[in-house]
């Protein structure tokens, strides 16, 4: 039996880092909020069902409900998900942890999340998703509002079931000098993941999207990132490491330089194992003169000479392969606290390498 119930569920949540100390927690099982805890006075966490009354101005402002059929599903459904706000000028050291768990077969988990960082607030969110059901679906709209000088690290570690379909719709509005670091880690099979978060950057804002993806066993991933640099001096980076093992992956990226002195860089490295497909679609677009945009993309398979080099040190073939896979997934994410980095490393060790 595949289960996230009882001990199994605890272990799986642990894998996603949800046993650690936090500044707040929000856990939803299927369609019910099973834990909501706030441990810092500068933080407010509400279920979206309540927040939509109090903070209605943030809902469907960065994303239109008519964007596509999935945003429509969320706007038509009952309101679930969380609202998180950090008050002006506060730095929250411990992360806020959120988790969405699906255990009901056939469930369509519809979510609407909103994250608001007021001026100069700083926060880390560690978000886990976990499924162990059949024919399940996770559809979410997530909107970020990062006011001037705020700094958010948003780390998603996902552990879907074989059969899960996942359609996150994400947008982030970055005011002047705001920083948004988004880390997306998905290392297990999923039937379908389709996601392309958008960041809109004002003056001197910074957005960095990192994706670490391991599509295996007939998964279909279509994942990207979009940065629209609308303010002078804004910067963006879209970096991905993608493994496709008998799976079909499209890795996209779009960086738009719409203001002078904006700077963007995109990097996609793909590794093919078995009969995988990787299709990278990096796009750069600029409408002004003074911008600096670049991209690199490379797709390869495990290099024989590297493999034999490790084996010549006495390492058996399978282990040499997993060392190389581990090394490949090490993207060297910048600007995140050590605890989050450790969490990401741990997830990769457990989910990508051990299961290889």
């Amino acid at each position: 039996m595949r289960g996230v119930h009882g001990g199994g569920r605890m272990n799986s949540l642990k894998q996603l880092g949800l046993d650690e100390k936090s500044a707040g927690k929000f856990i939803m099982d299927n369609e019910i909020v099973t834990e909501l805890k706030v441990e810092n006075e500068a933080v407010e966490i509400l279920p979206s069902s309540e927040a939509i009354e109090k903070y209605g101005e943030y809902y469907f402002k960065a994303i239109s409900p008519d964007k596509d059929k999935y945003t429509k599903m969320v706007s038509d459904g009952s309101v679930n998900g969380y609202f998180i706000r950090v008050k002006e000028g506060h730095t929250i050291d411990l992360p806020i942890q959120t988790a969405f768990v699906i255990t009901d077969d056939g469930l369509k988990q519809l979510l609407h999340n909103v994250i608001v960082l007021e001026k100069n607030a700083r926060l880390n969110i560690l978000s886990g998703c976990l499924a162990s059901a059949y024919r399940d679906m996770h559809v979410s709209v997530t909107e970020f509002y990062l006011d001037e000088g705020s700094y958010l690290t948003y780390t998603m570690i996902h552990n879907w079931a074989r059969d899960t379909e996942v359609y996150p719709r994400t947008a982030a509005m970055l005011k002047k000098n705001a920083t948004f670091i988004s880390n997306y880690i998905s290392l297990t099979r999923a039937k379908m993941i389709q996601s392309s978060p958008v960041a809109y950057l004002d003056e001197n804002a910074i957005a960095r999207f990192y994706s670490i993806l391991y599509a295996k066993d007939g998964s279909k991933f279509d994942i990207g990132g979009i940065a629209k640099m609308n303010g002078e001096g804004s910067r963006s980076e879209i970096i991905s490491r993608v493994i496709s093992q008998d799976s079909d992956v499209v890795s996209r990226g779009l960086i738009e330089g719409n203001a002078n002195h904006s700077k963007g860089h995109m990097e996609c490295s793909g590794l093919l194992l078995g009969s995988g497909i990787i299709h990278t679609i990096p796009e750069l677009k600029s409408s002004v003169e003074n911008v600096d945009l670049s991209h690199e993309a490379a797709i390869g398979k495990l290099a024989e000479d590297e493999l034999y080099y490790l084996m010549a040190r006495g390492i058996v073939e399978d282990e040499a392969k997993s060392l190389l896979i581990r090394g490949f997934l090490d993207v060297g994410i910048k600007g995140i606290p050590p605890a989050i980095r450790e969490q990401i490393d741990r997830a990769i060790d457990i989910m990508a390498v051990a299961s290889f």
């Binding site: 590297e306 080099y309 490790l310 006495g314 040499a320």
Partner: protein, 241 residues
């Protein structure tokens, strides 16, 4: 320790080793000279068991065991270690690999070889020629092999660092012990012979066109190569025999 009998090796359809015979005892260091393309690296690759070199005839016996058909990692586990002539960039952090393969303490070698700043980088990623060579020796220091295969360990390394790597190689060879007590051995391929100023060899061989064409005391062999070149040297060495 190592016995190679009539070894013939083919790479991509071309015969590269054409019947090599070599016997190495514990405590010995064998130097191999020879022109570019004569098959020196191929010999080490065949001993190590690297792919793309197919053994068509002959045997390799290591510590009494026929290893001719063993996979590369098994040979490494038996105690054979190779310092590559041109090691590839490998997408694994150097410290992670060392952690995985080390037998005992290696801190002192990290410092001796000036490699501390390279530990957190991927193996050989952006390393200069000399840094790669030091990295190779550091990995051997972690492996502590009984038979070291050193493929031009000093090429591209400055004088100061040749001394540094030689010191480590000597330690790994237990050179501080009396000859009879040494259990380690090495094959050193060298173009210049510089390394032999610091790592003393028991015997030197000249390889030409896939064969060991002559053998003798290292100093004599080197003097002959310098004086007469490889071709001539073979003739006169044969006369001396």
């Amino acid at each position: 320790m190592l016995e190679i009998e009539n070894l013939k090796v083919v790479a991509e359809g071309k015969e590269i080793l054409k019947g090599v015979n070599l016997k190495i005892k514990e405590g010995e260091v064998h130097a191999i000279f020879g022109p570019n393309g004569s098959g020196k690296s191929t010999l080490l690759a065949a001993i190590m068991g690297l792919p793309s070199y197919k053994i068509t005839e002959g045997r390799i016996i290591f510590r009494g065991k026929d290893i001719t058909g063993l996979p590369v990692w098994e040979r490494a586990k038996l105690g054979i270690g190779l310092a590559f002539q041109s090691p590839p960039e490998v997408s694994v952090r150097l410290d992670k690999l060392l952690e995985r393969i080390k037998k005992g303490e290696i801190e002192k070698y990290v410092d001796a070889l000036n490699m501390r700043n390279y530990l957190e980088r991927n193996i050989n990623a952006g390393f200069s020629g000399g840094e790669r060579k030091r990295g190779e020796i550091l990995q051997l220091a972690a492996q502590k092999p009984d038979l070291m295969l050193l493929d031009e360990p000093e090429s591209g390394v400055d004088m100061e660092n040749i001394y540094v790597i030689s010191k480590v190689i000597n330690e790994l060879l237990e050179k501080e012990k009396r000859i009879k007590e040494r259990k380690k051995a090495a094959i050193v391929i060298t173009h210049t012979g510089y390394i032999l100023d610091f790592v003393s060899a028991s015997i030197a061989h000249i390889m030409m066109d896939g064969k060991i064409v002559c053998s003798g005391p290292p100093a004599d062999v080197m003097r002959n190569i310098k004086k007469n070149g490889y071709e001539k040297c073979v003739e006169c060495m044969e006369v001396e025999e």
